[in-house]
């Protein structure tokens, strides 16, 4: 019985990177065109002013903030999950970490665009950056938006580092191989640069593993802080159904929930598209499916606690928002959210047969829709009903806002397809290391430790 470390098995991971794969290229091209919709719509908005969006008074925040929270939430897929699995030394993590960390980095890049889009005049964004200038002005650190900038910048830089560090030995593996096969090609040049002179000396391994361990520990509190602070954009305001102490943990749980959901969908597609069932095997889906189930229950619990508190309190301004959400005009959205986020997951995930790739991917897709709806209900649902109810309003997104949402999904696909052609989506050296540990542990323990043992 050969482990996945045997060279032949790695081929399936190396080929998309070492050779030109038309399918992946077409994938980049198509998603790139969808991404162009984002930049066209954004450009149109910059030229014609922010008024081309559907936001108004009193709904001053619309799709852009919904998308911002949604994408920052997605970013909790990777780095956080992979860091938790690394810190707890879960052996089955090895094939998952890379594809999860890439989701984080790309989702953060997209999420970070939305505040710029939202301003309408992106060139004044730098006023928020603490640069000492002769203007003698300093940003206001009492504003949750400033906390956002600090947290998200830290998280983005940390996630990029955390994604790049474990990629160095893989780039070196590819460099050595490509130098033998086609020393003059452009790809070879890329890997030579990207490997950063990695030679695999004990000193280098020691430094790398120390750095990865440190980053894994550091990134967990950063990730938790990021979505807590995003929730505080709402909770710090005194608006009905925003001003809630539960929002911090509620948003963190929701973020990880949507993160696991996108990871499930991505893993299913990778497995089908690249034929890497051997690495992203049923055991991985089963374990992540259990985590998924835990977060479905947590999210359902928080949602229940939040809504029960508001309903029981029966405060005039809050109950207006509550009624519209649960029984009024937004009820169809609210109950769709409950079905896809709680009912369907609880019908599928508790059962081992449900925690197979297809089942978890279907649940994942539903949860992505549901979590987007949740953010929409929070942002628009509250803003429609100001405390002085003379000014109650409505909100219809314009084509610009819809175009930017669609384009952002295209952008995620574009970044991911392109990444697939630049780096192996499963960490080669970490899987090798796992196989090595399993072999050393002896036949008795091998089955338990082996990262990618197919259930034969």
């Amino acid at each position: 019985m050969a482990g996945p470390a045997a060279g032949a098995h790695e081929e399936v991971l190396i080929r998309p990177v070492s050779t030109f794969r038309p399918k992946l290229f077409v994938g980049s091209l198509v998603t790139g065109l969808i991404m162009a919709v984002l930049f066209y719509s954004w450009g149109y908005q910059i030229v014609n002013d922010i008024g081309v969006a559907g936001i108004n008074r009193p709904v001053f925040w619309g799709f852009y903030i919904v998308n911002f929270v949604f994408w920052i939430g997605i970013s909790h897929a990777g780095t956080l999950i992979s860091a938790i699995l690394r810190v707890t030394q879960a052996e089955w993590r090895r094939p998952v970490t890379r594809c999860a960390e890439a989701i984080t980095t790309f989702a953060l890049m997209i999420g970070g665009l939305f505040p710029l889009i939202h301003l309408g005049r992106p060139w004044v964004f730098w006023y928020m950056v603490p640069i000492p200038t002769d203007r003698g002005l300093w940003p206001n650190f009492r504003s949750p938006l400033m906390w956002d900038i600090m947290a998200i910048t830290t998280y983005l830089l940390g996630s990029i580092l955390y994604l790049l560090l474990p990629m160095i030995p893989d780039f070196a593996i590819l460099r050595d191989r490509m130098m033998r096969e086609s020393p003059k090609s452009l790809r070879t040049l890329f890997f030579r640069v990207a490997a950063l002179g990695w030679r695999g000396t004990p000193q280098q391994w020691y430094s790398l593993e120390a750095a990865i361990r440190a980053m894994a520990v550091v990134i967990i509190p950063v990730a938790v802080s990021v979505h807590t602070i995003v929730s505080w954009d709402f909770a710090m305001a005194i608006q009905p159904m925003w001003h809630s102490a539960i929002f911090g943990p509620y948003f963190v749980v929701g973020a990880i929930y949507s993160g696991v959901a996108v990871l499930m969908v991505a893993m299913y597609l990778l497995r089908r598209g690249l034929g890497i069932q051997e690495f992203l095997n049923d055991k991985v889906f089963n374990n992540l499916g259990l985590m998924f189930l835990a977060f479905a229950l947590l999210w359902g619990y928080f949602t229940f606690a939040e809504h029960l508190t508001v309903w029981y309190g029966n405060e005039h301004a809050e109950i207006a928002v509550f009624d519209f959400r649960v029984t009024g005009g937004f009820a169809w959205l609210f109950w769709t959210m409950i079905v896809v986020n709680v009912v369907i997951p609880l019908l599928i995930l508790p059962f081992p047969k449900g925690r197979k790739p297809l089942g978890t991917a279907i649940v994942g897709l539903g949860v992505l829709v549901g979590m987007w709806i949740e953010r929409f209900l929070i942002v628009v649902g509250t803003l429609r009903f100001p405390r002085l109810d003379f000014t109650a309003g409505a909100y219809t997104p314009s084509w610009v806002e819809i175009g930017i949402l669609v384009g952002s999904i295209g952008m995620f696909g574009f970044l991911y397809f392109t990444f697939l052609q630049l780096a192996p989506i499963v960490s080669l050296w970490e899987v090798r290391e796992g196989a090595h540990i399993a072999n050393r542990a002896g036949p008795a323990k091998r089955h338990a430790l082996e990262p990618a043992s197919e259930e034969a």
Partner: protein, 227 residues
């Protein structure tokens, strides 16, 4: 110290809207047109809200002029990431237009919904462009704005008083809304001067504040009680 404040006598208010029109003229507020107004983008720094009391046929309409309450404990101020809105030593909740980057967070956190955003660059159709007030800047697209208590008039009166080496007299400053109110329902002045008319009215039994329970400590007082 000076603390500017305003009193609205809702028992006097007839709901005519002259204050709102005067405010538009004085402060170069853009008129957005029907289409934009239908989207909820009309801009009236001072607006008259109507509410109805009683059951048909015994119904009474009451008017509530709503404008920036110039809160001492303003929810809009701490949330602005760039200090575009802040409290002046004279108790005004000021807007620095050139500093505003358009996060619109202040407007979300205002319980009175009295902040207005320039969704498009302002256009003044002829002949309105000839009556722009030279003492007030025209706000570009992407900037938040709201009632300033006619800060340009306050400044003007203070300059004159300084030249004449005296204090600003009570009643010397009249905001555009107060000046144009046919029912004399609006009084402006210094709340810290116990003898000023505004301070005396704000102390009466009829005095009340809007959304007092939020402890925003508004500088605007409403008088009501005669039924």
């Amino acid at each position: 110290m000076t603390r500017w404040g305003m009193v609205f006598d809702t028992d006097r208010c007839t709901g005519c809207g002259a204050c709102s029109v005067a405010c538009h003229a004085e402060n170069n507020i853009q008129t957005v047109g029907e289409v934009e107004a239908a989207k909820g983008r009309a801009m009236h720094w001072l607006r008259i809200e109507r509410h109805y009391e009683g059951v048909f046929p015994d119904v009474k309409v009451r008017f509530m002029p709503v404008l920036c309450q110039q809160c001492a404990n303003a929810p809009c101020e701490p949330v602005c990431p760039v200090y575009a809105t802040y409290r002046t030593p004279e108790g005004l909740n000021a807007m620095v237009y050139s500093r505003c980057i358009g996060t619109r967070y202040c407007a979300n956190n205002c319980p009175y919904t009295v902040r207005f955003f320039n969704w498009f660059a302002p256009e003044f159709s002829a002949p309105l462009e000839r009556q722009l007030n030279p003492d007030v800047s025209v706000r570009p697209a992407g900037v938040m704005e709201k009632c300033t208590f006619c800060v340009q008039r306050i400044q003007d009166a203070q300059d004159i008083a300084q030249d004449e080496e005296r204090d600003v007299r009570d009643g010397e400053i009249r905001t555009a809304c107060s000046q144009s109110c046919p029912a004399q329902a609006i009084v402006f002045g210094d709340l810290d001067n116990p003898d000023s008319r505004v301070a005396q009215l704000a102390r009466t039994e009829r005095a009340t504040h809007l959304l007092e329970e939020l402890s925003t400590e508004p500088s605007v007082t409403y008088l009501r009680g005669v039924r």
